[in-house]
């Protein structure tokens, strides 16, 4: 092993950066100084060895999850399985679909077990676990492109909301997608649930059999991919607006079903500049910040 996990504070001195292998976390805690120190110490401590433990069970984590039982032992691995299990009966899904969210959750849980915090987050490459004490809130921004100064949408997650997890999945990310969405951002009770749901919804944004969509077997691209021979999206040619909307509607239908069963709190689906939002409450959805709170909670808008 030649690795050296990175543990350091960012230049601003208040956010902790933890990196090990594919795990890349930005952590921030707010509270009394002593609590913040305790929280950061707990995060660093829990982080060391976390990847090793996870990798011990990697072969199991890369297999399709059983909706009823799991042979997994590690705390993070169990979180991963629990998050994907509700989808396992109807879909092919492996615990890996929730790995980023589950890691974020696990670190946050370690922090909260050792400190009393006003608010805290663990951001694992866009999959985010949140903590909010009474009267606290987070402003979450959706950036169109990371090099663009402005934010495309913003949303407020407050302590009164159930949402404590946010995740984004799409074909541009590090992991493969069976669908064609540029991005699906999901709000859910936990980060791992959001992570799993974003994968499922992202897969549903699709135009099966469309000639303009280039697909390749996952294992041809990444020999040890958990998706094996399944066709993952590599490129998208010209799509008409009608096709884009049809694909988004397929995903939105999936999102609505998850919303109805309480598996998610909301979702924003994006493809070719079109965005569709599905949400239980108008205020919880990105960009819906109007004085008129009675507005329909679901809307399609151009960005």
């Amino acid at each position: 092993m030649t690795r050296a996990p990175q543990v350091r504070f960012l230049a601003d001195g208040r956010r902790l950066h933890l990196q090990d292998g594919p795990i890349d976390l930005i952590v921030e805690a707010r509270g009394r100084a002593a609590d913040m120190r305790a929280a950061y110490d707990a995060a660093m401590q829990r982080f060391s060895g976390l990847l090793d433990a996870l990798c011990e069970e990697l072969p199991h984590l890369r297999q399709a999850a059983d909706p009823k039982r799991s042979p997994l032992k590690g705390a993070v691995a169990r979180r991963m399985h629990a998050a994907v299990a509700p989808f396992a009966a109807d879909h092919f899904i492996t615990p890996m679909a929730a790995v980023a969210g589950a890691v974020a959750e696990e670190i946050l849980a370690a922090m909260l077990g050792n400190a009393r915090l006003d608010r805290a987050y663990v951001n694992n490459g866009g999959d985010i676990a949140l903590h909010l004490a009474d009267h606290e809130q987070f402003t979450v921004g959706l950036a169109d492109r990371p090099n663009l100064p402005g934010l495309m949408r913003t949303m407020i997650v407050s302590c009164d909301d159930l949402t404590r997890g946010i995740a984004t999945s799409g074909r541009h990310g590090r992991s493969f997608s069976l669908g064609i969405a540029d991005a699906v951002t999901v709000l859910a009770l936990t980060a791992s649930q959001a992570d799993a749901a974003a994968t499922i919804i992202g897969n549903a944004v699709d135009l099966p059999g469309h000639s303009a969509i280039v697909r390749a077997p996952a294992h041809d691209l990444q020999p040890d991919s958990d998706l094996g021979p399944r066709l993952v999206t590599r490129g998208i040619g010209a799509l008409s607006v009608v096709e884009v909307r049809r694909a988004l509607e397929a995903g939105a239908g999936c999102a609505r079903r998850l919303l109805a069963t309480g598996l998610i709190d909301g979702a924003a689906l994006r493809l070719n500049g079109e965005v569709v939002m599905v949400g239980a409450r108008a205020t919880g959805m990105p960009g819906v910040r109007t004085p008129d709170r009675s507005r329909a909670s679901e809307s399609a808008m151009h960005v």
């Binding site: 990798c55 934010l151 500049g273």
Partner: protein, 485 residues
């Protein structure tokens, strides 16, 4: 940059940088996006690490571009959709604007630099068409109880408000900044905002719609006060009628006594007005305010008149009475007892009444967004920002906001104003700084763009964007969305 590669198979290598132990195909990266297989060698492609090493070795820095050295598949694509907490408050000063689009217009190679500017120095100028009293000049204007701006000058038939500005956005409390930002964004996106003026009225303002003052929606702007109406139409009435009274809640005008009538040598008629005389031919308070004639409560206009003076008046004299909007009008002739008797209105007088109606415009709120393009925004367009400013001043570069025409203020910097109803829906956003995000485009000749130090290597032909995910055609608003009566 290099670590040991082990187990190099024919076409793939196994990375031992971490316990995930990815198999990586040539030209691909591992699960971490940090290690890649470059011609059978495991290489590190983490931009931050590269950057740190360069700095620690005293190397010269060039702005990192995703995919710059590598084939683009290793690092995140520039169009990745990310979720960021607490992000958006930094200003990446050196980044080229997101799109620098070149398109051919009339055979001239044109460049549109499309960017979204973050404007801390910004606000809206609101013009509210109303004659109602909204509040004293310089009074604080509040939204949700927070100071967001102030009352400025009264203009003809309108009251101006100045809202926002860096003082309210970032100079006050956190809540003041947030509420100001919300109010500015909503007003700029043509949404209604309720504003309360210290010592004055509560008014709901929405660009392109009539103002709602203390719960009552304005309808039409009157053509002018009664006195002004006399001034505007005196010449058209000369020789067609002996007397004209323009009934108005504010100032009722009387043609024969008014300066305009005097200049036209219109003789006295012996008319006697109720109310308080201000100057000749101008009367305050002829009746209580209301919804009748000219904003008064009267339904019989004769009730504002006293008896005609028999020394001057004579039977058969003619009189037009009309309100400031032309909504109400009546024609009279004096009988032998010098009492006005209503008669059918002659057609040429009818025409003058219709002319008054025609000149009453619908009362509207208009919102102009005003912002200044700062150094960082200009740097996104060119590596020599001041040249962009000069180019704009020299009219070589056309500035638009969301495709809408703007007025660029003379003097230093690029401070512009734009009618928010001309922008596509939802064009304005915000960052938590707080500051507004508004679209701004600079269009100029490709050769001029190169001359002012443009990011030529980032110029993309328009055709190349057509099918990409990054551009989206939005129909431009041609006019205000509100009712145009």
């Amino acid at each position: 940059m290099m670590t040991d590669a082990t187990e190099a198979a024919a076409d793939k290598i196994r990375c031992d940088a971490c316990p995930v132990m990815c198999y990586i195909r040539p030209g691909a990266a591992g699960a971490c996006d940090r290690y890649a297989n470059h011609n059978g060698e495991l290489v590190r492609v983490d931009p931050h690490i590269v950057l740190e090493r360069t700095v620690s070795h005293g190397g010269r820095l060039v702005p990192f571009q995703a995919g710059g050295d590598w084939d683009g598949k290793i690092v995140h694509e520039a169009s990745v959709f990310v979720t960021a907490i607490g992000a958006g408050t930094t200003y990446p000063d050196y980044k080229p604007a997101p799109f620098i689009v070149s398109s051919e217009i009339d055979g001239v190679d044109m460049v549109t630099v499309v960017t979204e500017g973050i404007f801390s120095y910004c606000g809206v100028k609101v013009k509210i068409d109303t004659d109602r009293y909204l509040g004293p000049e310089t009074a604080t204007v509040r939204a949700q109880g927070e100071a967001v701006g102030h009352v400025t000058t009264s203009e003809y038939g309108s009251q101006m408000l100045s809202l926002g500005g860096v003082h309210h956005l970032t100079g006050g409390s956190k809540k003041e900044g947030r509420v100001t930002c919300d109010a500015l964004m909503d007003l700029s996106n043509c949404k209604p905002v309720e504003l309360t003026i210290d010592g004055g009225a509560t008014v709901v303002v929405q660009a392109g719609y009539p103002p709602v003052v203390n719960g009552v929606a304005e309808e039409r702007m009157r053509v002018g006060c009664g006195s002004a109406t006399i001034g505007m139409f005196a010449k058209q009435w000369q020789g067609k009628v002996d007397e004209v009274v323009v009934v108005d809640d504010h100032i009722t005008g009387v043609l024969s006594e008014h300066q305009a009538g005097k200049l036209l040598d219109i003789p006295d008629t012996g008319i006697k007005m109720k109310g308080r005389r201000s100057t000749p031919g101008r009367y305050f308070q002829v009746a209580e305010p209301g919804t009748g004639w000219g904003g008064t409560k009267i339904s019989d206009p004769l009730s504002v008149l006293g008896p005609f003076d028999p020394k001057t008046a004579r039977p058969g004299m003619t009189m037009l009475m009309v309100s400031t909007t032309g909504e109400h009008a009546a024609y009279y002739e004096l009988d032998d007892a010098l009492k006005p008797v209503e008669k059918p209105m002659p057609s040429d007088l009818r025409l003058s009444v219709e002319r008054i109606q025609e000149n009453c415009e619908p009362a509207l709120c208009t919102v102009l967004f005003m912002g200044g393009a700062g150094g960082s925004l200009r740097a996104g367009v060119t590596d020599n920002p001041v040249r962009l400013t000069r180019s704009v001043k020299d009219a070589l570069t056309r500035v638009t906001s969301g495709g809408a025409p703007v007025y660029v203020w003379p003097g230093g910097g690029i401070t512009f104003m734009v009618d928010v109803t001309r922008l596509p829906a939802g064009a304005f956003g915000y960052v938590p700084t707080p500051a507004l995000v508004a679209p701004i485009e600079f269009t100029l000749r490709l050769s001029d763009y190169a001359a002012l130090g443009g990011h030529m290597d980032h110029v993309r032909p328009l055709a190349s964007l057509k099918d990409s995910t990054e551009i989206h055609q939005i129909p431009l608003q041609q006019s205000a969305p509100g009712p145009r009566v």
